[in-house]
């Protein structure tokens, strides 16, 4: 074989030998490429833009594409940095054995080419195969009819190719830069540079407690939903800051407190896990805090979008107790009685009968800022014969009439025009503004909006989940290599296999589930404010939201648990 083929072959064997690290990396690459392609495919699909309410969906999917693109950069860089850190020793060895840095660079170049080719081909194949499926799912969610046929969007393919080639080139440059900067002896020991014990930073702990408490307080005590949006963001930022501080400084303070409690600390189970975590916290804390926030985001995103989508019927029912609704604002008392007659006559001209007709007068109060929130309530009062409205008469009265037409969730536009014309001619000057709305039109746009939200929520949720478990997996595996020697020592001085196993389990369990538990706590505190925000979207079914959140957390925990088991097993295999 010619000399030229050496580096490509070396690259292949490098990838094979580092399978434990390369395989998850390749899978991540493929998954990210596939997800990006699917999103870009949907955003650029011409079929979608012809649908009703398509503008919002296209805009949303465009946004989703950007988010996935940014995320792809972050996640691939992150996983790559793990990979390169792990491999420093191997590269250092090559260096010492006489390979020059440019030779290593050559091998790395071929590795990158292989990775790029594999992930692009694999990712695009998976993406193209699944795009149809995802598309059908999206159409189902949006209540659109699914068009037949299978298509590949070349625009999306090119976008994917350009983006990921750019990312991989950047990663290669980053890796080459890392190698260029390092000295062989450092490369050789790159994996295990000693960490000192972290110091307790009480001021940060206090800041953490204050910001987190402040965030929780805001989330619990905001009264009005109008203020809620602004406050919600402040609360979110406070909670994020608090989470970071508590994970970094708070965890160290807490572990040191545990260590000071001699009775607790000097027990076989706690002894090595407390000190092991303390030792690692400095590197881990920020990662765990990020994972925690990512988890919270995924959980909130998925549960609210699911809840919105499921609750959309209820919301429509609340805003549209009748399929066709007409409002006359500032309608004079003499004009109101004629309203019913006009509507009945006009519908009769179209050979239709207005069913379930309800009409009433009401007074709009100052804080009735959202009509939809109380129209159902007013209607209930009107139906039971209780006269609604504000007694002081300072506000002008409004007239409402609502009815259903058989076999339709709307009304022919011509009918509405006719009604409007009669009202303007016959009741001229007796009311201020006319407004009519039909459930059918609204339902289309609401379904496409909420369906789009749900789709985006699930899709990004999946992506974030993948990122989360991947980060933990890499962290644990690379720690496993660092911990290997510690376990060897402990086994030599008399730690049994069983003890090792249970110790590994408890340590990984903490690392895995601490972020999830904290995320759930965040959600519990955020619950009230989220229900208020949902109420603005006419979703008032709190028990629905509770069950959506519960199921989301459960589903999340199950996936999480599976990954935990895989990781724990891989970790155990490394250290024993």
């Amino acid at each position: 074989m010619g000399k030229g083929a050496f580096y490509p072959r070396l690259a292949v064997s490098n990838i094979r030998k580092n399978g434990k690290f390369y395989l998850p990396y390749l899978l991540t690459c493929i998954a990210t490429v596939a997800m990006f392609y699917i999103m870009a495919f949907i955003a650029s699909n011409p079929g979608l833009s012809q649908m009703q309410g398509a503008n919002t969906i296209t805009a949303m999917m465009g946004f989703g594409t950007v988010v996935i693109g940014i995320f792809a950069v972050i996640i691939l860089f992150y996983t790559n940095s793990f990979l390169i850190k792990r491999r420093k020793k191997e590269l250092g060895l090559y260096n010492i054995l006489g390979m020059e840095k440019r030779h290593i660079a050559k091998a790395m170049f071929f590795e990158t080419i292989y990775v790029t080719v594999i992930s692009l081909i694999g990712g695009l194949l998976v993406g193209i195969l699944f795009s149809k499926l995802v598309f059908m799912l999206l159409y189902r969610l949006l209540d659109f009819t699914v068009p037949l046929g299978f298509s590949i969007s070349w625009q999306a393919v090119i976008m994917t190719l350009v983006l990921f080639c750019a990312i991989f080139i950047l990663i290669l440059l980053f890796n080459l830069f890392q190698i260029k900067l390092s000295k062989p002896i450092e490369l050789l020991y790159g994996g295990n540079s000693g960490e000192r014990e972290p110091k307790t930073k009480w001021p940060l702990v206090v800041i953490g407690i204050l910001t987190l408490g402040g965030g929780y307080f805001l989330a619990l005590y905001i009264k009005s939903p109008t203020v809620a949006i602004g406050m919600f963001f402040i609360a979110v930022i406070l909670v994020i800051i608090g989470t970071y501080f508590l994970f970094t400084a708070g965890s160290i303070a807490w572990l040191k407190m545990l260590r000071r409690n001699k009775k607790y600390y000097y027990q076989p189970r706690h002894f090595s896990s407390v000190s092991g975590m303390l030792y690692r916290m400095k590197q881990n804390a920020a990662g765990l805090a990020s994972i925690c926030i990512l988890c919270t985001m995924v959980l909130v995103m998925v549960s609210t979008t699911v809840c919105m989508y499921i609750g959309v019927e209820d919301a429509l029912n609340m805003v549209y107790p009748r399929n066709v609704q007409i409002y006359l604002y500032e309608c004079q008392d003499e004009a109101y009685p004629q309203l019913t007659g006009i509507v009945e006559e006009e519908t009769a001209k179209y050979n239709l009968t207005a069913e379930d007709m309800v009409s009433f007068q009401y007074y709009q109060e100052e804080d009735d800022w959202n009509r939809s929130l109380f129209i159902g309530d007013k209607m209930a009062k009107a139906l039971t014969g209780e006269i609604p409205g504000y007694k002081g008469q300072e506000y002008p009265s409004n007239a409402y009439i609502g009815f259903n037409l058989p076999g339709s969730d709307g009304a022919p536009p011509l009918l509405l025009d006719a009604i409007r014309n009669r009202l303007t001619t016959e009741l001229a000057g007796q009311y201020d503004t006319y407004e009519s709305e039909t459930r059918g039109l609204m339902a289309d746009s609401v379904y496409s909006l909420y369906g789009g939200f749900l789709f985006l929520g699930m899709f990004l949720g999946l992506l974030f989940l993948m990122a989360t478990v991947l980060i933990i997996y890499y962290k644990q595996i690379s720690e496993g290599y660092d911990d290997k020697q510690r376990f060897e020592i402990m086994q030599k001085v008399g730690m049994s296999r069983g003890e090792t196993k249970s110790f590994v389990r408890s340590q990984i369990l903490t690392v895995f589930f601490l972020p999830l538990v904290v995320a759930v706590v965040h959600i519990v505190f955020a619950f009230k404010i989220i229900t208020k925000l949902l109420a603005m979207l006419n979703l008032t079914d709190i028990s629905l939201f509770i069950s959506c959140t519960g199921i989301t957390i459960l589903a999340f925990a199950i996936i999480y648990g599976l990954v935990y088991m895989l990781t724990a097993r891989a970790y155990y295999r490394i250290v024993s």
Partner: protein
């Protein structure tokens, strides 16, 4: 009283599919009396480490028996082996094998914690040992903050705190400078004088010259033995050197 008896130990390493076989120990037998201080010497590849690992119950022999105070350690079950090691053996290694995430004090406690002893008991035991070893004032420090000699003293304290029947030392002076080595060897003399049985595996003539008996291992067999009896350390040093050169030049077997 015989503390340790090693009978006809054989160890054959084979590759996974039984292809290449390497005989690390052909036939090793010796016994260690209570309170003895034995050094095992031999070149690289003579089987020293294999022998030590078998005595330490870290490895199993292909055939033969190791009996520690009447109990065969070859047949101990996997579950009990860690507890057995913890209760009966103390280890001192060349590279100290201290854990960086524990303070010196916690490193010493490690085997006791694993044995489930209470803190009060551990606390009671540590002081006399650290005073003897001269490391009382570094207890709160971490291994990366102390010198090599202090690290090895910490490791010795960890080996002694379980009051083991036998202390196994694998090249304990290998990573120390001559000053620290001398200190450590004097320490071993003191500990041995107080009744502790020590088995030392070493390359170093100086370290071996402190022992009361020296076994020379070659090609997986006990090749020769030297007893110190009433000789001075300097005389022993000379004798060991001579023996080693005989071994190196390929002398006849007269074990």
């Amino acid at each position: 009283m015989t503390l340790l008896e090693v009978k006809n130990i054989k160890k054959i390493y084979s590759t996974r599919f039984g292809g290449n076989k390497v005989q690390a120990l052909t036939n090793v037998s010796f016994s260690v009396e209570q309170g003895e201080y034995i050094a095992i010497m031999g070149e690289s590849g003579s089987g020293k480490t294999t022998l030590l690992n078998i005595i330490a119950s870290l490895d199993k022999p292909s055939s033969g028996e190791v009996v520690l105070s009447g109990k065969s350690i070859v047949t101990i079950s996997e579950q009990q082996i860690s507890a057995f090691r913890r209760d009966n053996l103390g280890f001192v290694f060349q590279d100290f094998n201290l854990l960086d995430n524990f303070s010196v004090e916690d490193n010493i406690y490690l085997p006791l914690v694993l044995a489930g002893k209470s803190y009060d008991e551990m606390n009671e035991r540590i002081l006399p040992i650290t005073q003897q070893l001269g490391i009382t004032d570094i207890l709160a420090k971490f291994p990366y903050e102390v010198s090599g000699g202090q690290k090895q003293r910490t490791a010795v304290a960890r080996a002694l705190i379980t009051k083991p029947q036998l202390v196994l030392a694998d090249e304990p002076t290998g990573a120390l400078d001559s000053h620290a080595s001398d200190g450590l060897l004097r320490l071993f003399d003191e500990i041995n004088a107080a009744g502790q049985t020590i088995l030392l595996v070493t390359h170093s003539v100086k370290a071996a010259s402190h022992a009361k008996r020296i076994l020379f291992l070659r090609d997986g067999e006990v090749f020769h033995q030297l007893y110190r009896a009433s000789q001075t350390q300097e005389q022993m040093y000379q004798k060991i050197s001579d023996t080693l050169s005989v071994i190196a030049t390929g002398g006849e077997h007269h074990g």
